[in-house]
Amino acid sequence: MEPGILDFERPIEQLENRVAELSRFSSTENIDLSDEINRLKERVIALKTNIFTNLTPWQKAQVARYSRRPLLSDYLPRLFTNFIELQGDRLFGDDLAIAAGLAKLDGETVAIIGHRKGKDTKSNLAVNFGMPHPEGYRKACRIMKLAEKFHLPLLTFIDTPGAYPGLGAEERGQAEAIAVNLAVLSSLRVPVIVVILGEGGSGGALAIGVGDRLLMLSNAIYSVASPEACAAILWKDRAKVEDAARALALTAQDMLRLKIIDEIIEEPLGGAHRDYDLITGRVKGSILKHLEELKKIDVEQLVQQRYERFRKIGEFEEVS
């Protein structure tokens, strides 16, 4: 059994292996097993449906962070042509945890900012597990302003455990870097579409997450704190991640209910990792649809609507 496979995916994996075995056997031995194989394939679908329509919030968090899940590097070549990466914050360095650049989306130039995760330990170390430093957010800020100057729609892609909590990050002003991005994005004079691909980790996600449309994959999560951190702080027990994930209301379905996002992009049966082309196609379709709508809105109105969108988020009572 491959390490790192999700517990609740194991029965699916086992059944799929059985299908593969039978297919191999049937072709090498030249025996017709198609009835048996088709029956098993139907069972795979039934099993996937059963497991993936009943995922707990914590299981969704695990899917959102899954090593097999498509990453920004998988989306870029499928969504765009001619991606040109732009690097550096012109102040300190280049943070690989944030990818930024220009690309063509169906012939139209767009600006892109996204978190970059790796597929394995080695590639993850290179991008700091998708946890940006201030220079990453400042590079992002540079691209935001570039998009505004050249009237390019800005597309951002969220997939991060959070902004990096380390010595250098503090010394160079992590909080300020995030705060400035919130301010800049809130009044940026071009359409901004935010796609939450996997993990939306707190301020580190929000720093590129203020936009006119927020789209979210059906197994992605968005949270004020990771379930682990929340369990440690509030329950004083790291083992309470299931409870913390449920309490935090971090699923895409919660985000829609709380009116944080505009649309859920449905993942293929069994999760986005089952079919990269299918999910990227759906993401592209959704981006194009919303971009068409946003391009029709006058820029003053666009900025005003974006302000009001965030202005009205909050649950409180006014007693008299």
Binding site: I178, L182, A183, L234, L248, G314, E317
Partner: protein, 280 residues
């Protein structure tokens, strides 16, 4: 070098330092253990005369410290938090709120309004660390945003005195979004030429620091305050080593170019007054 006398990072538990202060004639300093005559301690604005340790102040004390006597007019005192996620951890959010409301006398973790500072009319807010660690949920986010909008409408300078451990987890992602909401309001206010003085007091961390508290035209830190994005414990767990002495303290963030100045508690009012005089 006050931090050498203050080895513990007790910044995230609001109650711990209060408990050490009995209600009698004498006050025991949490840092040096000295017994200080209460009147002396209060005269020195709750800074230990012996070791210069800064005890935390509540929002009301903060405003009293800088505003002209009896000049404060509160805004939005009727905004109250709701437990819209039915959030229950080791203690239900509802119970945490009730307890904090009883302890502080406030509905939530900030006080906003207008007042006069050395004669200048200002829109002013203060966060209260004694109310759930000064955490920002919907009420704090809404009150701060309304305060900023009032400052814009009245063309008055804005002063926000922050003390916060970060976002309020019990309100989930809605509390995270208050960072965007308040920052957007500051951006608008700034674009219309408004003056915003941000005052950072112990501790200024997390979502408050990664939003409006970092966006001041001028950022002033109180002496010895802890200032940063992540809390010291989170950083220590991440890097798996002890933090160097003074890390994230006011002098440290000043040296790293992140703030304009560090002031003593006793000098804050005069410094604000001078800045208002020069910039308005």
């Amino acid at each position: 070098m006050a931090w050498f006398r203050k080895p513990q990072y007790g910044t995230i538990s609001p109650d711990s330092r209060r408990q050490d202060i009995p209600g009698g004639l004498w006050v025991k300093c949490t840092a040096c253990g000295d017994l200080v005559y209460r009147k002396d301690w209060e005269a020195s604005l709750k800074v230990c005369p012996n070791c210069n340790y800064y005890s935390r102040l509540g929002a009301r004390e903060r405003l009293d410290l800088v505003l002209d006597h009896n000049s404060f007019k509160e805004y939005d005192a009727n905004l109250t938090p709701v437990d819209f996620l039915n959030f229950t951890d080791s203690v239900p959010y509802k119970d945490r709120l009730t307890k904090a409301q009883e302890n502080t006398g406030f509905m939530d973790a900030c006080l906003t309004g207008e007042g006069r500072l050395s004669g200048h009319l200002v829109a002013i807010g203060a966060l209260d660390f004694f109310f759930m660690g000064g955490s920002m949920g919907s009420v704090v986010g809404e009150k701060i945003t309304r305060l900023i909008e009032q400052a814009a409408a009245k063309h008055s300078p804005l002063i926000i005195i922050s003390a916060s451990g970060g976002a309020r987890m019990q309100e989930g992602v809605v509390s995270l979004m208050q960072m965007a909401k308040t920052s957007a309001a500051i951006a608008r206010f700034s674009q219309t030429g408004g003056l915003y003085l941000s005052v950072l007091t112990d501790p200024a961390t997390g979502g408050v620091m990664a939003s409006f508290a970092s966006l001041g035209d001028i950022i002033i830190a109180e002496e010895d305050a802890l200032i940063g994005f992540a809390g010291p414990r989170v950083i220590e767990q991440t890097i798996r080593q002890k933090l160097p002495g003074g890390f994230q303290k006011a002098d440290f963030v000043l040296e790293h170019g992140l703030i304009d100045m560090v002031v003593k508690r006793s000098e804050l009012r005069d410094r604000l007054a001078k800045l208002l005089e020069m910039l308005t």
